[in-house]
Amino acid sequence: MAADSRIERARARARSAKALIGASTLLVFGVAFVGAKVHAPGHAKGKTSPLGAPKSFERAVKRSIAQGGVIAPAVQPPPVASATS
């Protein structure tokens, strides 16, 4: 009985140890998995957007098409005339 009891106790300790190791492994894997997902560079975490010039730049370029120039009163005889052609 004593020997059985000792064997049973040893088996119980072994089962506990296996369960503990399994739980630890799952925990370490889970932490590593979540850490990689959150922190590892190169992993898309949000919606992707196309590469290219920022919209503000495109707007600035387009604005220049409809932008006034700088004029002032003439002070000399003009060397050139603006007219329809």
Binding site: A66, P78, P79, V80, S82, T84, S85
Partner: protein, 242 residues
């Protein structure tokens, strides 16, 4: 400042502060690419092609891209298809896609783009003018239609209207030559292209032209068929502030 005169794109080119041969070369390059009167020009070849998708040259792609931006900005008043179908033209890089048979006419932007391209080559001060559409580097005094003159300090100045060639500007909203109440509209822009586009759009808008320029803070001057002169708010302000 020595002023040079030459002929290109069917009009008189006036330039100063730049070698006239350089100016001639720039205009020849643009005319060779976009002339509707040269069967070998890329524009004619594109218009003749039955293909719906074509690869075009970098210069052609650049000009068409500008023309489509201009059509967007003017809500189709200056339209490279001349018939209100500019939204059917797609350009991705150098790949052009448009419905078969839809012809392009880039004359609405090509002359002023050539003026701006030539003016880019001025080292120091000077100007380039094609048929009266001007880009300056440094202040230049310019005579105005109907009399008077103005100093263009920066950017460009352009005039659109019916004075020299009659009713040649097509209104894309109707497909017919414009019956604008203006004879000539002169506008000042950040470049010759900007000035030319503003002048054309304001001319085609008729009575709404001055308000359209004011909304965009573009100085403009309108000569009516009856001879009256109307100035936009910024034009009057620019002349009064000095």
């Amino acid at each position: 400042m020595t002023v040079h005169r030459l002929e290109a794109m069917g009009c008189e080119i006036v330039a100063a502060g730049i070698d006239p041969e350089t100016v001639a070369r720039v205009f020849e390059e643009w005319e060779d690419e976009f002339s509707l009167f040269r069967p070998g020009s890329e524009l004619c070849r594109v218009n003749r092609s039955p293909a719906e998708v074509l690869a075009v040259s970098p210069l052609f792609a650049r000009a068409l891209d500008v023309a489509l931006d201009v059509a967007e900005d003017t809500n189709g008043l200056v339209d490279p298809t001349l018939c209100g179908r500019w939204r059917e033209v797609r350009l991705v890089g150098r790949l052009l896609s448009r419905p078969a048979g839809l012809a392009l006419d880039l004359n609405g932007v090509v002359k002023s783009l050539a003026v701006d391209a030539a003016a880019e080559l001025i080292e120091g001060e000077g100007f380039v003018s094609a048929g009266g559409d001007i880009a300056v580097r440094g202040p230049v005094d310019v005579a105005l239609p109907g009399g008077g003159a103005i100093r263009v300090v920066a950017g460009g100045l352009a005039t659109s209207g019916t004075a020299s060639r009659g009713r040649h500007l097509v209104d894309p909203r109707t497909g017919e030559p414009s019956d604008s109440l203006w004879e000539q509209v002169t506008a000042s822009g950040s470049s010759c292209l900007a000035a030319d586009v503003a002048a054309k759009a304001a001319f085609l808008l008729g009575p709404d032209g001055p308000a359209w320029l004011d909304e965009r803070e573009i100085p403009g001057r309108f000569v009516a068929l009856a001879g009256d002169v109307v100035e936009s708010r910024l034009w009057t302000g620019a002349l009064a502030c000095i």
